[in-house]
Amino acid sequence: MDLLQILVNGLSVGAVYGLFALGYTLVFSVLGVINFAHGAVFTLGAYFTYLLIGGAVGANGWLAGVQLPFALPFWAALPLAGLGAALVALLVERVAFRPLRRRRADPLLALITSLGAGVILVNLIQLLVGAESYAIPTGALGGLPASFSLLGARVRTVQALLLGIAVVLLALLTLWLEGSRNGKGLQAVAEDPETAQLLGIDSTAMVRLAFGLSGFLAGVAGGLVGLSVSIAGPYFGIGYGLKGLAVLVLGGLGSVPGAVLGGLIVGLAEAFVPADWSGYKDAVSYGFLFLVLLLRPRGLLGRPLPTKV
């Protein structure tokens, strides 16, 4: 494989990691905790997309054989799946995070409650649609060709889509965070929730906003991955969830551009692992993570860690 091909493959995988880590980072920046249900929301996004483009449920599960009465084109199904995932993320916030916040409980507990929510979601998926894998047909992209060649590299249309959508979403998110009233409110809550509250910013609404956005990004990423490599069963989000964690720290906890940069770096690094060593590919991101934690704990683009006094 030549260099260009490796770059294309690495960047498209990296874009998914970046989208994934963006969702983590949004929630982390306002609450200071990691949402372990994020992987399950991502998985749901993939299943929503599959159903919305008219896919039928397999023979297992309570919904065996169910099919929506309509079939949307992929470009319409994807944002809708994102919205569905956002609603689920809001539900997760409501049951797993808000009760703890209201009681000012140890943030450590949110790791457990969000994981509980994730376990429920994943097993609910399994109950409803079974454990088999689902492939989103490539015909879902309508008239677009399955792949095209670019300067001699074979680029699958899905890969280009992944990268393009990730870049567009990042740009929109950055513009919104810097330019809109709500975006600035979100940043203020991330900075200091109590002062933000004193200044008249509804921090609960901002937390909800962060969860909604994070769920939308996860849902879109899930739909894109489903299209790109198929949905490998209800548990397939967990691996991405762990990688996303590595990406999150690599880029700097709470940093939006850091999440994307970290994703691209990890994706590229994995693409450069030679085929003979492919078994060790999954360790690459964690190796990076380890190095970053030891050499520069705030991550590549993170702010300096506060020193506790």
Partner: protein
Amino acid sequence: MDAALLEQMLLGALLALSVYLPLGCGQLSLATPGFYAVGGYVAALLSTGVAAFVGSGATSPLWALLAEMVLGGMLAGLIALAIGGPVLRLRGIYLAIATIALVEILRVLNLNLPFTGGAMGIFGIPQPFAHAEGYVLFTLALLALACWLCQRLEALRLGRAMAAIRDDELAAASVGIDTPRTKLIAFVASAVLAGVTGALAAHFLNSWNARAGSFDASITTLAFVVFGGSRFWLGPVIGGLALTALPELLRPVGDLRLILFGAVILLGPLFFPQGLVTAERLRALGALLGRGRHRSRQAPQAP
């Protein structure tokens, strides 16, 4: 109750104690399943590959089990010692993520090293006990020993230093406690306990593969401690016993079992943020049993 289930519960309690030790000095380490996997591989490799440990094929001598537990614990402890220095400089969520990364790196190594049997792992591990009851008695003794050591710790300088770091690390350092050393001791002790438990579990389960040390296991073992309570050793023990039994006890509800398990993990911390075992509840229990004194006067459970 089924002896095999009881054995799993006891192993769960031991792992919970392994998570509790670093948490006792404020360090959220999720590395326990990684060290557990390492200990299990040591036992699995020795008892299936080294003539002196193999015994008569299907059975293995008790001394071999003990030697494997020592070696498994030592290897886990050495790994913890090697990485503990730099890793324990991290705090809070950063430490948690670093230990998740450690577990994942160990898992990938276990899956790919030339001698660990790949995804299938190692099977046909010989049995030192003929029945599950033998394992139960042996593990019960080990758990009692671990509990006794944790209880003793409270009276020792080391245990008090750990509690001081948990409550306020800077204050602890300012009164002359060697905080890096204390944290490292707790981390290594946690690894040794997990390694010893892994060596025992590999024999009990008869086969061992990389799934023993996964992210899922990290969170499950953390749930044991959060559930039971992290202030006193009885908390993680009860959490480990109860949460290991729960999925089995829920078996009658069939497909809903794991959903209910998720619901328990979700709701537990909301209703019992301190865990089930707290100082007040212990005191209340002590008063109920007519023993008004505080828990430090309680007779140690010697094995």
